[in-house]
């Protein structure tokens, strides 16, 4: 039901999370500034890295898996992400045109 964190010892979870988050950031910087990739590839790959960053924060730092009863908070985050995607994607799609007459 819940992932009971260890009350003793070394905070491995946090250290691993921190190292990973630094690594992911460095990777993103490297991807953008050292690799000569097409812009769209760059953007897609740094977005993927950002999603991993989020997962690290949620799982290793924010104790997302702890809960009492059903994981309603996870459902609400997922729904939030869906709405976020709709708003960002929808707005870009709708506002993409600047003029109907070229």
């Amino acid at each position: 039901m819940s992932s009971q964190p260890s009350h003793e010892g070394f905070p491995w979870k946090h250290v691993i999370g921190f190292v990973l988050s630094i690594l992911l950031t460095v990777m993103a910087l490297w991807l953008v500034f050292s690799l000569q990739l097409p812009v769209s590839t760059e953007i897609v790959s740094i977005l993927v890295l950002a999603v991993f960053q989020v997962l690290i924060q949620l799982l290793l730092f924010m104790h997302l898996t702890e809960r009492d009863g059903p994981a309603y908070h996870v459902i609400s985050l997922i729904f939030g992400a869906f709405i976020a995607f709709t708003i960002v994607g929808g707005s870009i799609w709708i506002m993409a045109f600047r003029s109907m007459v070229s």
């Binding site: 609400s76 709708i94 506002m95 045109f97």
Partner: protein, 659 residues
């Protein structure tokens, strides 16, 4: 001296605008003096403060929401009548364009945000904790905050009428007409900031009810055993939580344009006015479902109760609620099909809009079949629910017609559209809250509203409603657009508009009769001693009317859908005395303390908002600092609960005849 007073009067109180303002000023002063005088005369100040202004009890907060909603219904209704008076005949110049623009703006804003929303939230407050067998909402203190933020937001919006001038860019407040260049006065600031304050309260309400419903149900009440009103509130809360932040941002962006020179919606420096429409409707469309879904919930309860039968197709009802909630976030472009976002965009959003008709249709048929093989009792509450079905159907189906983008090119912004959304919002939301009011009134006050007067109010209102809005469909197809302050003769619009105005007067009369019903009931109460005047099905009817502070002396055990109906009609054992409370199970109860702070913090918000509206930062910033201090003090508060002793519970329950 006199001259400078008059100058100030002209600048801030618009005394130069004539008798309408003077009358309003006089009425406001007299009413305020009257209230203050009455409270002093009756020595009710302490009572008001202790019992109401500082309360955190969801039932009292609900009642205050409904009182405020009634007041706003009156204000918005007056606006509506003024609009109709102006349009009664062609070439009428009873109002100037400036005044007409203000009146339709406040009419729309007040009706949606300060009437429909609080009425709905009021019913939520009254019924939901009782329906799920809880002692209060999850965060009672936050609940009081929500109410007072709404209240002072509404107050702020309303004072614009006499201090500085009302907003006049329509309730949709499209840029650039609402931007700093075309609308430089304070009116639009009132709109932005009062909605912002009320909106914060609404988000808090959404979170509060989501947590309440998901986490505080009585044992045994699984999600699929919840009453349908509770389900609708759960889904509504979800929509609030995910739609209102968009409004928060949208209002803030226009505020940045107006107060700090940003360029989001201006035409220069790369701003895009259309972006306002886009953002506004990302919130605005779900908002429609926020005010309609709880009404659907009320109808489900009322139709089932007065057909004395289970709700037909419970699961389908739940699934369609969820479907409507998700779809409501994917249809917003149908409000601006005519802004040329392209054939692919319009086609997609036509389709997603039409899809909403499917779950809504499922609900309509399920309500109809709830009556099938039932025993329909025509109470006032039921009449409102029944009238909803055909009237809302007309609104809903014209909605499907509007969803077809190319057809919408001919309907858009015409009176056809005006007719459509009034059919949806009045036949849906207003009929719904009236139905809920008659239904839950006994639970709120321990007495039934007078049925005979109530039925008169219903028939007058319902028939007048059709008289007002049915002709609008035709006049729209004749080319009349919304927000015209006057129109020429010879286009054939005149007779229709006259009928509409007469209908509007009838709706006003219906409202007056309903208020009379309430006054009559207070004078000649018909006490409900059973706590269950309608042979109800859900848990709120299992406790005394009005409900005691702690709601349930002993938290009930739920065994299925319609928990109280099952207790009254047990399958196996012989019927026991269901109303009695098991004395051995009574324990002391933890309840939250009253607090003056939500009221004070909201007053500070009001002051801060007023400061920002006038760009008086010397007032606005200290106001916000007081808000912050209030929040920090709250954080340092540790003893905010008290006990109700077993003896006191027993005394209360004995008085209610439960022990």
């Amino acid at each position: 001296m006199l001259h400078s007073i008059l100058q100030i009067g002209d600048k801030y109180f618009m005394w130069n605008e004539g008798p309408m303002i003077w009358t309003s000023d006089a009425l406001i002063v007299l009413t305020s003096l009257g209230i203050v005088g009455l409270l002093t005369y009756l020595k009710r100040w302490k009572w008001l403060w202790d019992e109401w202004l500082t309360t955190v009890d969801h039932k009292k907060i609900g009642i205050m929401y409904i009182i405020a909603a009634f007041a706003m219904f009156f204000r918005g209704g007056m606006d509506g009548l003024i609009i109709r008076a102006q349009l009664a005949i062609p070439n009428n110049h009873f109002l100037t364009a400036e005044h007409y623009d203000q009146v339709f703006t406040t009419h729309g804003t007040i009706m949606i945000l300060f009437m429909a929303m609080p009425f709905i939230i009021g019913l939520m407050n009254i019924a939901v904790p009782l329906q799920i067998g809880a002692r209060d909402v999850a965060f009672p203190y936050l609940n009081a905050m929500s109410f007072w933020l709404f209240f002072f937001g509404a107050l702020l919006f309303n004072i614009s009428f006499v201090i500085g001038g009302s907003p006049d860019a329509g309730w949709t407040s499209y840029a650039p007409i609402a931007g700093p260049f075309y609308d430089p006065g304070v009116g639009e600031n009132y709109y932005l900031i009062s909605l912002q304050i009320a909106g914060i309260g609404t988000i808090a309400t959404g979170i509060n009810f989501l947590v309440t419903i998901l986490k505080m149900r009585a044992p045994g009440m699984t999600l699929m055993r919840m009453p349908m009103f509770t389900w609708s509130v759960l889904i509504t809360s979800v929509i609030i939580i995910f739609a209102f932040p968009v409004l928060t941002v949208t209002l803030a962006l226009l505020m940045f344009d107006r107060l700090f020179g940003a360029h989001f919606f201006s035409v220069t420096h790369g701003g895009l006015p259309m972006m306002w429409a886009n953002l506004f409707w990302i919130w605005g469309h779900p908002e429609v479902y926020i005010v309609i879904l709880p009404a659907f919930g009320v109808f489900s309860e009322v139709v089932s109760t007065f057909s004395h039968k289970r709700l037909f197709g419970y699961k389908a009802m739940v699934v369609s609620l969820v479907a409507i909630a998700i779809l409501s976030f994917t249809t917003w472009v149908h409000h601006f099909f005519t802004m040329g976002a392209g054939a692919s965009v319009n086609s997609f959003f036509s389709f997603s809009t039409m899809l909403i008709a499917v779950p809504t249709g499922v609900k309509i048929f399920n309500w109809l079949f709830t009556m099938y093989k039932g025993r329909i009792e025509f109470t006032t509450s039921m009449l409102w629910a029944l009238a909803f079905i055909p009237n809302f159907l007309i609104g809903g189906l014209t909605g499907v017609m509007l969803a077809s983008a190319p057809a919408d090119y001919q309907y858009h912004n015409s009176y056809f559209l005006v007719a459509h959304f009034h059919y949806v919002l009045i036949a849906g939301t207003v009929f719904g809250v009236f139905s809920g009011l008659y239904y839950w009134w006994p639970k709120m006050f321990g007495q039934k509203l007078n049925e005979r007067i109530g039925k008169w109010a219903f028939w007058i209102f319902m028939i007048s409603f059709n008289m007002t809005f049915m002709p609008m469909y035709f006049v729209g197809l004749m080319g009349m657009t919304r927000r015209m302050y006057t129109y020429p003769a010879g286009l054939g619009w005149g007779p229709f508009n006259l009928i509409e105005t007469i209908g509007a007067l009838g709706m006003g009369l219906g409202f007056v009769v309903m208020v009379f019903d309430i006054a009559y009931t207070i004078r000649h109460p018909e006490k409900d001693l059973t706590g269950d005047p309608w042979d109800g099905r859900t848990l709120e009817w299992s406790i005394p009317s009005p409900a005691p502070e702690y709601n349930f002396a002993v938290i009930p055990e739920v065994k299925g859908i319609d928990a109280y109906w099952m207790m009254k009609h047990p399958k196996e054992q012989e019927p026991g005395p269901v109303k009695a409370v098991d004395k051995s199970k009574i324990r002391p109860i933890h309840m939250p303390n009253n607090s003056y702070r939500p009221f004070i913090i909201s007053v500070a918000f009001f002051v801060a908002g007023f400061g920002f509206i006038w760009q008086w930062y010397w007032l606005g910033i200290p106001g916000l600092i007081v808000v912050a201090i209030g929040l920090f003090l709250r954080s340092f508060e540790y003893n905010d609960e008290h006990f109700i002793s077993t003896e006191e519970i027993e005394r209360t329950e004995i008085a209610a005849g439960r022990l």
